[in-house]
């Protein structure tokens, strides 16, 4: 929003132009005097970001400390890269990396394409009412908490009373340890994500598809293009950049497994395949009290995540896409 050019601000502007020797701080100070209301309004938000987002970033220094809560950051002993060394030489590291990456791969190969496919399917539906009903039903689960979603899965897949297991048993099969075995952990996690997020993921593609000029389809039909050709030559290109942006975001968070979901699904029987960086930080840090070491683990994950976003974004730009920033 531009302010109206009131005389006062013109006056200051004039001053700024004529006295170039002024430092940037002097200019800002002048502006604060002129727009003190705006600065006052900005203050709580800036304080929030400094306290709850940036102070923790500064707190990352404890990754290089033998941090003791009663000593604080100032008095705790500095240990250099000892925690990182311990992490990279520990067998836990390879377990965490493997589990995290396999889950991410499941996610990208099994979940990621689904919203695109569903959106394309919905795009072929000609009954607007049918389309609307399906769309508004399938994205409801996005708004449920992970606790509720995992509870639903317990009602279905639990070894005692789980509906699926009861059906299996009544058909003469053996019950399956869906929720408390290493074997079923990854499929279950992926299935939960699919149930919860597919509908929501569809919406963004639907928005991109809604923007396609219908005349394009008409012209293609005139030229004798069948539905598959229309899909290939018109529909897919129109959502290509959306797909790429979402893929960048997904790759950027490759090491984020989603703490809540995994934590809720973890138990002693599936920990070997289920423990990921996020849950490990909680177990070792909050429960185990090893603040310095667990922060080093988390920091490794955050730095790799940041690098991944920067790299994938650059790659996207190289291939002529917009990128996310």
């Amino acid at each position: 929003m531009k302010a109206l050019p009131d005389p006062a601000s013109n006056h200051h502007h004039h001053l700024i132009v004529t006295r170039k020797s002024e430092g940037v701080w002097v200019k800002i100070l002048k502006e604060v005097r002129r727009d003190y209301w705006l600065y006052l309004m900005l203050l709580p938000g800036v304080l929030y970001f400094l306290i709850f987002r940036y102070a923790p970033m500064w707190g990352l220094v404890i990754a290089f400390q033998n941090y003791m809560p009663f000593l604080g950051i100032a008095k705790s002993e500095w240990v250099g890269f000892a925690h990182f060394h311990a992490l990279f030489t520990s067998p836990d590291f390879w377990m965490l990396l493997r589990n995290t990456m396999i889950l991410a791969a499941y996610n990208i190969f099994l979940f990621f394409p689904l919203p695109i496919i569903i959106a394309l399917m919905l795009n072929e539906v000609r009954h607007e009412v049918y389309k609307k009903i399906v769309v508004s039903l399938i994205y409801v689960p996005h708004f449920l908490s992970w606790v509720i979603v995992v509870s639903f899965f317990y009602f279905f897949f639990s070894i005692q009373n789980g509906i699926v297991n009861e059906i299996l048993q009544s058909l003469g099969f053996q019950k399956v340890h869906f929720l408390d075995s290493a074997r079923w952990f990854r499929p279950m996690i992926t299935l939960e994500i699919i149930w919860k997020e597919t509908g929501w993921g569809t919406i963004i593609f639907m928005a991109a598809l809604a923007g396609v000029n219908p005349q394009l389809y008409e012209a293609a039909r005139m030229d004798g293009a069948n539905r598959w050709r229309q899909l290939y030559h018109i529909t897919l290109p129109s959502i290509r950049s959306t797909i790429i942006i979402l893929l960048i975001l997904r790759l950027g968070s490759f090491l984020d497994s989603g703490f809540e979901q995994i934590y809720l699904m973890l138990n002693t029987l599936n920990r070997e395949v289920g423990e990921v960086f996020d849950t490990y930080v909680y177990t070792v840090g909050i429960l185990g009290g090893q603040f310095g070491f667990s922060t080093a683990v988390d920091m490794f994950k955050s730095v790799v995540g940041l690098l991944l976003v920067l790299i994938t974004n650059r790659l996207a730009k190289k291939f002529g896409e917009e990128g996310i920033y």
């Binding site: 970001f49 039903l137 840090g285």
Partner: protein, 292 residues
Amino acid sequence: MDRNRSWGSKLFDSANYFLLFLMALITVVPFLLNVTGSFEAPEEALRKSFVIFPKTFSLAAYRYIFSTNTIPHSLLVTIFITVAGTAINIALTSLMAFPLANKRLRVRKPVMLMVIFSMLFSGGMIPTYLVVKSLGLLDTFGALLFPGAISAFFLIILKNFFIQLPDELEDSARIDGCNDLQILYRIVIPLSMPAIATLTLFYAVGHWNQFLNALLYINDSSKFPIQVWLRQIVLLSQTGIGDSANNFEGVIPPGKTIQMGVTVVSTVPILLVYPFLQKHFAKGVLLGSVKE
């Protein structure tokens, strides 16, 4: 459109409609079974392992849940967190978005950079925990209200919404002697109701669903939000919630029915606001901003 479509095309359409119907069914069935299961009479539930439609309809699970002290108390806690938390969210987000939408503000760019970087990188769980701890917020409602007070993503959405409002209205208010704060709540916010309403719903749903912060920062079970209890009861099969059920008469329903009842109780508020979420989506407020 094309009247004489090939049979292949028709087959494709039928398969397509059917698969989408299946998809919608898979979404809805867990809700339905959860609700019907929670109304099962204790006697029937004890006899059979599961039913799709109970023969005898019973409110026993709900009577039991609301006869305990824990669940009703926790619902009140969650309602409080949701209302207070959302009020803080909206106040702080709009206060910050307004100056950031003002192009003549010199610090606008560095502040935006600070906001955007916080979306790409964070201090993570332990340093944030230590900040919350050093502020003395552990085991207080403050730990559930403040650490997520502004969502960088929603802030940017609101800022973009403010930017595209016409400047003239604001200018005329300024001539009438309004200061920036008055302009925000007298003119800008009333004009931005679709965006504010959407953010309110999203923030509120986030508070209602809050689990992680409670897990990290709250040890005192009298301050547990409903999601924490839901986990204790369903996922950990904790049976202790009945300790305080002193005024409950009749057969205590089996654990399974109670679990389903608690799940329904914590899901219903989300389903109640869902039509509003839906309505504001139709206006495309969020999607429009995302695309930008």
